[in-house]
Structures are given as C-alpha cells and as structure tokens.
C-alpha cells in the first residue's frame, strides 16, 4: 500500500516516463507502430487512475500538474484525426465548395444584390458626372484610371504580367478575406465591404466609360470578371452566413450556432480564394494580352458559363448512383 506522495511518485514515475517518451515520438498516436499504440492506450488508462488517486490523496500541485498535462497530451494524441489531408482539397474543389455555395444560395443572392446594385449606381453616377466620381475616389485616382485604360491593348512590357498577377493575388484575395472576416460583426462588415467594393468598381467603370475608353475596360474586365466578381460575392455571402448564424441561433448558443456553420464557411472562403487565384492568373496574363476583342468576349462568355455550371452542378449526386 502506497501511503506517501514520495512513494507514489517513486513507484509510478517509470510508467509516466514511458508514456512521455511514446508521446514525444509522434503527436498523433495513429502514426506509431501498432504495438506502441496499444501500449500507449493502456498507459493512458493507468495515468488517468494515477491522476484521480493523486487528486483524492491531496498530493502536491506539481504531481497533479504533471499528471494533468501528461494525460491531457495522451488523450489528445489518442482521440484526434490527422490535422490535414491533401485529398481534402480535391474533395473541396470537386464537391464541398459548390455544395456549400448552393446550401447558402439565399445569402449568395443577397450578397449579389448588395454588390451589383451599388455597382450599377456608381457606374451610372460616374457616367453622368465626373463630380460624382471624385466624391467617391480621389481625383488623381480617377485620372490615373482614365489614363491607364486609354493606352490599353498594346501589350505590356516583359515581366509586367507576373508583377500584376501577383498584385491581384495580394490585393483581391486580401479584399475577399476582409469581406468575409468582418462578417463576424453580425454580418455588418461583409455588407459594408460588398457595397463599398461594388460602388468602387462601378465608379471606375463609369468614369473610364465617360472618358471614352469603355470598350477597353470591358474587354479587359470580361475575362477574369467571371471568377473575380463571383468570388468576391461568395466571400461576402460567407461573411453574412457567419453573421446570421450569430443572430438566428436556433436552439444553440450563439457561438455553437456559428461553429455549426464552420464547415460551410471554410469551404466557401477557401473555394473563393482558389477562384481568385485563377482570376489573378487570367487577369495577369490573359486579360492584358494583345488578343483581339471579339475572341476575348467569346472566351469571357465561356468563363461565365463554366463558373455557372460549376457552381450549379458540381458535386451533385448522380440520379442513379449514390454519392456521399
């Protein structure tokens, strides 16, 4: 019978050290050889009982802390799935992302309205008066935009494509992420950024069109727009899903209601980021190329149909066969 703390520690320390070394080898037990896994499982149970015993006997806090942290580590190592799988990304692209988008179609529609309406407003306003445009953006910006599309179509200097593609990755995915993340403020942030970005794009388009370079601008924007504008709307929609989960919680607590949506949020924002990556490549290399306008329009139409078909159809279970 062990009575004192020192005897207890002396008798049990080898067991604790054995588990400690097992856990130090891999943080996930499933990566250890089978014999070690069973050994760790029985060591874990022993340590759980040691912990209870130490607590009930009132041993000093260093012993209890040691057992606490050791058993917690063992428990985590035993009951967890691998943190990431590469197949997960494939599943996301093939099914998870379009499904999540379809599940939240109402938010997508709302986000589209919040993005497109201010865009139209900005476009018409800037088209009618330059004063409107410089209310929204600084005058130098407007002039800069007008100038850049006036000289459009002659191709860029070598290497500029790569730089611009990187810029679009940095800027646009950043915008999409911000649009999503601020949705946690009960959706208000996403609503603001959708309206703001819609308005901004509309004003630029309006101002450039008013300056007489509308054809250049729309030829440029047509190709990547299919991916870029859709992705921004999707990230805004994901932000609003997040905000709404905090408002309408069903029978859950506010944060549990949000966590229940975590899977959808993750696939929507990751999918949107991937779409923006595609958009950045198109925007960097294809959109500014010297290809004639009608070809670009044709390709743009193809892109729109592709995105639409993807979001509508990908990941649906086939009528005959059952797919999880």
């Amino acid at each position: 019978m062990i009575r004192t703390q020192d005897e207890f520690v002396a008798a049990r320390k080898p067991t604790w050290d054995e588990l400690d070394t097992l856990l130090a080898r891999k943080h996930l037990l499933c990566r250890l050889p089978a014999a070690s896994i069973s050994r760790a499982a029985s060591l874990y149970r022993e340590i759980c009982s040691d912990l209870m015993r130490a607590r009930s006997a009132g041993y000093s806090s260093d012993v209890i802390d040691l057992l606490d942290s050791l058993s917690a580590r063992a428990c985590a190592a035993m009951y967890s799935a691998p943190p990431y799988r590469l197949e997960g990304l494939r599943d996301l692209v093939l099914a998870g992302f379009p499904r999540s988008v379809r599940r939240n179609a109402r938010f997508l529609a709302l986000a589209a309205v919040l993005f497109v309406l201010p865009g139209l407003l900005g476009f018409l306003g800037a088209l009618r008066s330059r004063g409107f445009a410089i209310q929204i953006m600084s005058e130098s910006m407007v002039t800069e935009m007008e100038k850049s599309y006036a000289e459009f179509g002659r191709g860029r200097e070598e290497g500029a494509d790569t730089m611009m593609a990187s810029f679009y990755v940095y800027n646009n995915i950043g915008i999409a992420f911000r649009c999503f993340a601020t949705g946690i403020l009960f959706g208000l942030g996403s609503i603001f950024f959708l309206i703001y970005n819609g308005l901004l794009i509309g004003v630029v388009a309006g101002a450039v069109t008013a300056a007489g370079h509308g054809r250049n601008l729309f030829t440029f924007m047509a190709g990547h727009g299919a991916f870029e504008l859709t992705a921004i709307v999707i990230s805004g929609a994901a932000g609003m899903v997040m905000g709404y989960a905090l408002v309408d919680t069903g029978s859950r607590t506010r944060w549990a209601s949000l966590r229940a949506k975590a899977g959808d949020l993750f696939s929507m924002i990751t999918g949107a980021a991937l779409m923006l990556l595609v958009a950045a490549l198109i925007e960097g290399y294809w959109s500014p190329s010297a290809v004639v306008a009608p070809v670009k329009w044709g390709v743009a139409l193809l892109f729109y149909l592709l995105v639409l078909a993807y979001l509508l159809c990908a990941g649906r279970s086939r009528p005959g066969g059952r797919r999880a």
Binding site: I2, V9, L66, G159, M163, G263
Partner: protein, 259 residues
C-alpha cells in the same frame, strides 16, 4: 503581468483534466515574436530575389516586385495557418512562449480550425491593435478571441512540469536523534500534508521556512513530549518517523512496477 487561467475539460471516459489557458499578455508576446519572424522571412526572401533575378532578366524589377507581393500575401495570410497545421498548433513565437492552440476539448486543431481562427484575425484586429479581440477575450474563461470562438479553439500553456524530489533528511538521521521519538508516531492526514508542504516547497526562503516551523514544531513537541531542537530538523525527523514504518511495506509496489 500574468493573466492566465485554468479550464477543466472532460474526456470521453469522464476523466477531467485541467489546462492552463494563456492570457492576453503571453499571447501578445508570442504575436510580437511571430511578427519579427515574419519580417525576417520577408527580408530574407527579398535578398534571395535580388540575388537571383538581379543579373539575368531584363524585367527583373517587375519580377522582383511581383515576387515580393506574392511573398507578402503568403506571409500575411498563410504564416499562422502553415505553422499551426504543420507544428500541431504552434508557431515559432508560440513555441518560444510555450503556447499551443488546441480545440476546446484539448484535441489538436485541424487545418479548417486554423484557417478560420487566423482569417478572423482581421476582425479581431479592429479597430486597431487587436482591441476588439482583447475586448471579446475578457468575456471568456478561455480567453477566446473572435477567431478562437468561431473555430472552437483555445491557447494553452505547455510548461514542462517537474516533480519535486522526494523529501530527504540531510544529513541522514542518526539513531540517537530518533531515539528521542516514540516508536510509533501517528499523524493525521492534514498534519502530514502540512509538514510535507513545508518541507517540500523550494520557493520558501530559509528564514521564512524557519519562522513557519517555529510555530508548528512546539505543537508536536508538546504532544509527543519531545524536546524540539532546530524546528525544521525536528519536523523532518517527525515526518521520517511517522512515514518510516510504512516505507518497509513497499515491496508489493516495486513488484508490480517491474512486472
């Protein structure tokens, strides 16, 4: 300033563990360290880019700023997710401060959790310097900022714990000292715990230990009608005698361990 806390987590077997969750100060230090690491990575990349593209390409400048922007993007949005996923919830800064991100149940976090909690940094940062995150944290026993709440994670402290060495009499008791004590001394559990606590604690200054022992020793000395010399030594001897008889019954235990 330390603002840490403990939370209790129950496992599937209904065993309860305690985790030490990290408060805002520790996490802020880890964040600052990570910020420095990120700046260092960016500078290193920039130097590599200059060396690689500098001479060979006509458009080196465009490639250079393109590469910089891409690196900036990856480091701004990917740094935390990359390390938290590969290093099981730690980053260089978190490692330095012995912090780890885990699920609220104590399990390792997944890629999805890491993406959510780190994307939401943007919201936690608002209006500037993580003020909103700090505000939200102060409401929660787990110090969860918005990102932690959405992903269901917490940041725990993983200080390696060392068990204090057994109580040893130094110098070893000599028989004449022990003769003064009765053959059998019985201490109640609280009494024994109190003496052990006094003898075990290393952070107690010698003078303070002496002072405490002086108040306790006479009580036992009177009860056992023994003359107490040095009070600390006296308590150690008392403890030795009280538990000494039981030390002989331990072969059963060592047999079990070696089996």
């Amino acid at each position: 300033m330390q603002l840490d806390n403990t939370v209790e987590v129950e496992t599937p077997e209904h065993v309860r563990f305690r985790f030490r969750v990290a408060g805002p100060t520790r996490r802020a230090w880890a964040y600052l360290l990570d910020l420095l690491v990120r700046i260092a990575i960016l500078l290193a990349l920039e130097i590599v880019l200059v060396l690689v593209t500098g001479r060979h390409l006509r458009s080196a400048k465009a490639i250079l700023s393109g590469g910089t922007l891409l690196a900036l993007f990856l480091i701004e949005w990917g740094y935390f997710v990359f390390f938290e996923t590969l290093w099981n919830g730690t980053t260089p800064g978190k490692r330095a401060l012995k912090l780890r991100v885990v699920k609220a149940g104590g399990y390792p976090l997944s890629f999805m959790d890491s993406v959510l909690r780190n994307l939401l940094r943007t919201a936690d940062f608002l209006p500037l310097g993580y003020l909103l995150g700090l505000f939200v944290m102060s409401w929660d026993s787990r110090f969860a900022r918005l990102g932690d709440r959405a992903a269901g994670t917490m940041v725990v402290i993983e200080d390696p714990v060392r068990v204090a060495p057994p109580i040893a009499l130094d110098p070893p008791p000599d028989p004449t000292e022990l003769l003064a004590f009765p053959a059998r001394v019985t201490l109640s559990l609280p009494e024994r715990e109190a003496i052990e606590l006094l003898l075990r604690r290393r952070d107690l200054a010698p003078a303070r230990r002496q002072e405490l022992a002086e108040t306790i020793a006479p009580v036992f000395a009177r009860r056992l009608s023994v003359k107490a010399g040095d009070p600390v030594r006296f308590l150690a001897l008392l403890h030795h005698v009280a538990v000494g008889g039981q030390a002989k019954s331990s072969p059963a235990i060592s047999a079990k361990v070696s089996a």
